[in-house]
Symmetry: C2
Subunit: 218 residues, 2 copies
């Protein structure tokens, strides 16, 4: 089973995007979501999806969307792992700002082979158990997370991921102190925002942002 080595960069990007954008592994991701994410035309997305399906990376359910098959998911997970590790390297060792690191990691994740990334993981102290940073898939996801928007009142949890990610939301999340790994408690839920407690501090999160913040309820 491939893990991303030698897989065409463009294919990796699509598989990674499907992984990041999907709501649940089984529910098909509409092609329109991919189009919006990449900023490509529906026709181009459709072309690529056909190719990915023919080459056996995804399941394509016309008029409904796509899901990753085992092969595609393996590549997406490996990609995400490389992405996270480079992100941590950039922030922890090179002091690159978090939001910027995300973008740069997006190119490094393709450039560095698995072997290098694994050595990098060791250099960083194998951050699987995640001291402060981003959850890094070891080879399978080890937690089940819930969207903050859906989290019940009073829920206590750990921020697992920001998905789908974008430079802007990352900046907000950093400002709120909601980086992955942080412990939070949902203290109030309103129409337009959700109030969470982050280390003695109360923060108001707009619902649109709460839609992309995921927590593991503890």
């Amino acid at each position: 089973m491939e893990s991303g080595v030698g897989v065409r960069e463009c294919i990796e990007d699509y598989l990674g995007a499907i992984y990041r954008l999907r709501v649940a592994p089984e529910s098909p991701l509409p092609l329109s979501a991919l189009g919006e994410y990449f900023g490509f035309s529906p026709v181009s997305i459709h072309e690529m999806v056909q190719k990915l399906s023919q080459q056996g990376w995804i399941h394509y359910y016309p008029y409904r969307g796509v899901t990753l098959n085992a092969r595609g998911e393996a590549v997406a997970l490996a990609l995400l792992r490389r992405h996270r590790l480079w992100e941590r390297f950039l922030t922890d060792m090179l002091d690159v700002p978090w939001a910027e690191a995300h973008e740069i990691a997006g190119t490094l994740e393709h450039a560095a082979p698995e072997s290098v990334t694994e050595r990098l993981s060791a250099l960083l102290g194998d951050p699987v158990s995640c001291p402060h940073g981003v959850p890094i898939p070891p080879s399978k996801r080890t937690y089940i997370d819930t969207c903050l928007r859906q989290a019940p009142l009073g829920a206590r949890g750990r921020v697992t991921r920001i998905a789908p990610e974008s430079g802007d939301i990352l900046r907000d999340v950093q400002g709120w102190g909601l980086l992955p790994g942080r412990q939070i408690t949902v203290v109030e839920k309103h129409e337009a925002d959700i109030i969470v407690q982050v280390e003695e501090r109360l923060v108001s999160i707009p619902v649109e942002s709460a839609n992309v913040i995921w927590i593991e309820v503890l």
Copy 2:
């Protein structure tokens, strides 16, 4: 003046190759050398050279070869700097074997922006003065080097670079203890080989290898 940021990867590769392969900055590098280096057809090389010339990266002297102009040289130098720094990171911090590091650095040098590479330089202790490793161009070359093949008998010098580089020669060079930075003395010159002294040890270098080892005569 550009320094490699935003310059098309392929263009950077050509400019870098011209820099590495050239014998002297002024003497045109024949297109056949580029063809051999990349393994591309003469026609393809010619096409690319025309493009590089039109876009103002190089001087093209038909039937003679190419030289870098100031703009092209700046990009090549920045590329080489990024290459060297990633190489050092890979070998020094990730314990990747030298020969392998060269290849991997060849992809990282394109992926990481200048800013990251500069922070990387700081992390590595700004290896401009080069403790043991590879000479890293700061922004201009600060040494004048001679091909070992041409070095006079009895010359004492410091290995500056292996150029043109390839996985195979790097392995040999590593075995001989002739990594860049090492002090050597030319003790004998024969038809087929050159005997150099490297830290108490005498090593016989075949002339073909001596052709790609460069030293700064001290």
